[in-house]
Symmetry: C2
């Protein structure tokens, strides 16, 4: 089983490469070769084949075609805030390079026993901001940012490649994934990670959403485990859209802060000052309930509890 990870230098990508190395198995078969593609690659584990360069370049496309992966995890993306600020850059990576990758992989389908598997990191930003109390598979999709629009377009294109049996795709809509490093990431949702790091370190934190704001949470470790699981899901009777939200923990910011206080000390609650910004709260503070029963039926999982989420997100051992 030859496995490719794009965006392997990114936060989720690097955690995924670690999980793949530990497990050594994808879709029930041992990993024989693992290649990773990104512009900036360093500290690669032994035995991993690097494909350094821009995903949209002919050189990288050729290298991917030469490697001929059986399973591809496509994570490379310009994140939401950055794509909103720079349309051309977001379009080039999130739409053009993604579709180019899908076409390169689809071109390998003829002559194979089964079409190449693609696990696509989509986003809950496909849903929109005017949502009903319960989001279901029938909720109309109204992406409120260009990043979400391009990810939704890619979901649709991937479903079409799967229908034509030249790819075997599964799109997972990722919620806020924590805890990203505290570097500029271009993500509006970065505060969800920053508050974990700050309170764990005993630092004060100004929170751009209120205590009763609700969001969908998942640790990077659980996200990576779900991506690996997704590669082996049996989709013979699945919805032809082949896109599912990851199961989530829906938590208020107050619940997250209380959980941090339980783990790191009661003083943590006093370190938080709430200064809600309407723009941030509209997009990342009003997440409704999510009917993720179809995702759970496929074996995808949330972190189990707020405490398990925080411990996993911050690399703390479970109690």
């Amino acid at each position: 089983m030859k496995v490719l990870v794009t965006g392997a230098g990114g936060y989720i990508g690097s955690v995924l490469v670690g999980v793949l190395g530990e497990k050594g198995v994808v879709a029930g078969r041992p990993i024989q070769a693992l290649a990773v593609a990104d512009r900036h690659l360093d500290d690669l584990p032994d035995g991993v084949e690097p494909i350094a360069g821009d995903l949209g370049s002919d050189a990288v496309r050729t290298a991917i075609a030469d490697f001929a992966p059986d399973v591809t995890f496509h994570l490379a993306a310009v994140p939401g805030g950055a794509a909103e600020a720079d349309y051309d850059s977001g379009k080039r990576v999130n739409l053009d390079a993604a579709l180019g990758l899908f076409e390169t992989l689809a071109g390998m389908a003829p002559g194979r026993e089964a079409p190449p598997v693609v696990v696509y990191a989509s986003t809950v930003a496909v849903y929109g901001t005017s949502l009903p109390e319960l989001v279901t598979p029938a909720t109309p999709l109204r992406p409120p940012i260009t990043y979400g629009a391009h990810k939704l377009a890619c979901e649709i294109l991937l479903a079409d490649f799967s229908r034509r049996k030249v790819l075997d795709a599964r799109s997972l809509r990722l919620p806020g994934i924590v805890a990203r490093p505290r570097a500029p990431s271009g993500l509006v949702s970065a505060f969800m990670s920053d508050i974990l790091h700050a309170l764990a370190a005993g630092e004060s934190f100004t929170c751009p959403v209120g205590p009763n704001s609700t969001a969908w949470w998942m640790s990077a470790r659980r996200c990576a485990e779900n991506l690996v699981h997704a590669a082996g899901m049996d989709l013979r009777s699945a919805d032809p859209a082949r896109a599912w939200p990851l199961p989530v923990l829906r938590l208020t910011m107050a619940e997250v802060v209380q959980t941090l206080s339980r783990i790191y000390g009661a003083d943590r609650e006093r370190l938080v000052r709430y200064a809600p910004q309407p723009g941030v709260e509209a997009v990342f503070g009003r997440f409704p309930k999510l009917d993720d029963s179809a995702s759970r039926a496929l074996g995808l999982r949330d972190d189990g509890s707020a405490e398990a989420l925080v411990r996993r997100a911050l690399g703390q051992p479970a109690e």
Copy 2:
């Protein structure tokens, strides 16, 4: 008001150019200049500026940017059957050239009073073939052909351009439009036009769907009138997806044949031999009811009656 029609050499495009010439008004303002873009242009009415060439070419893009339309009707497309047979050609025109056009137009937005208006000819092929008894705005979209997937992707991209206020787009999902000339069109739905021509001419016809099959019908004339109307719709409080099905007449094939018999003579029914093809009937023979109330509220209209549809489709005067 400067108006551009792409795909003006096609069937709906040529009818639209005729309607625009008659009305002389779009979105409440007189047409000062009308340009049309297509690869094959001939028999153009006086005063129409031709832009001949491939929509994806730099030359045509530059000509469109120079013309700087206030309203663009984007009809150019590789039709469904042809796009299904030739992925590259469909993708180049239906996705790449469309998005290139939208970006060219969006690039004109800065410095204008209002962003350029785009009326986009989408398709009911975005819905899919496993539909509930009543299709509503909440029905999940599952395009069953690549043509429909690319049109849906364009709807989503246009909604995003509108959200960013660099375009003012409205996508209309066109049903089967009749009566196209009896030339090879690349459309699987061509039989819907062919049966009208054949029975009007007193020729026998082998119908690839059964008498009780149901489809959504509209004459090209009414379609063109709807496209012109759409350019002036007030969308300030509209669904941000900005995509609506055209209101349709849902007719069985038997009803269409009966209507032809009423107009052209009772012998017409005997000219039809039904030889249903499962593949054609699955896509074009099982259209459910359509909740088009949102479209009607915006002033879009069907043909009124089966007889008016047939007369308008075949250029017969109304009774």
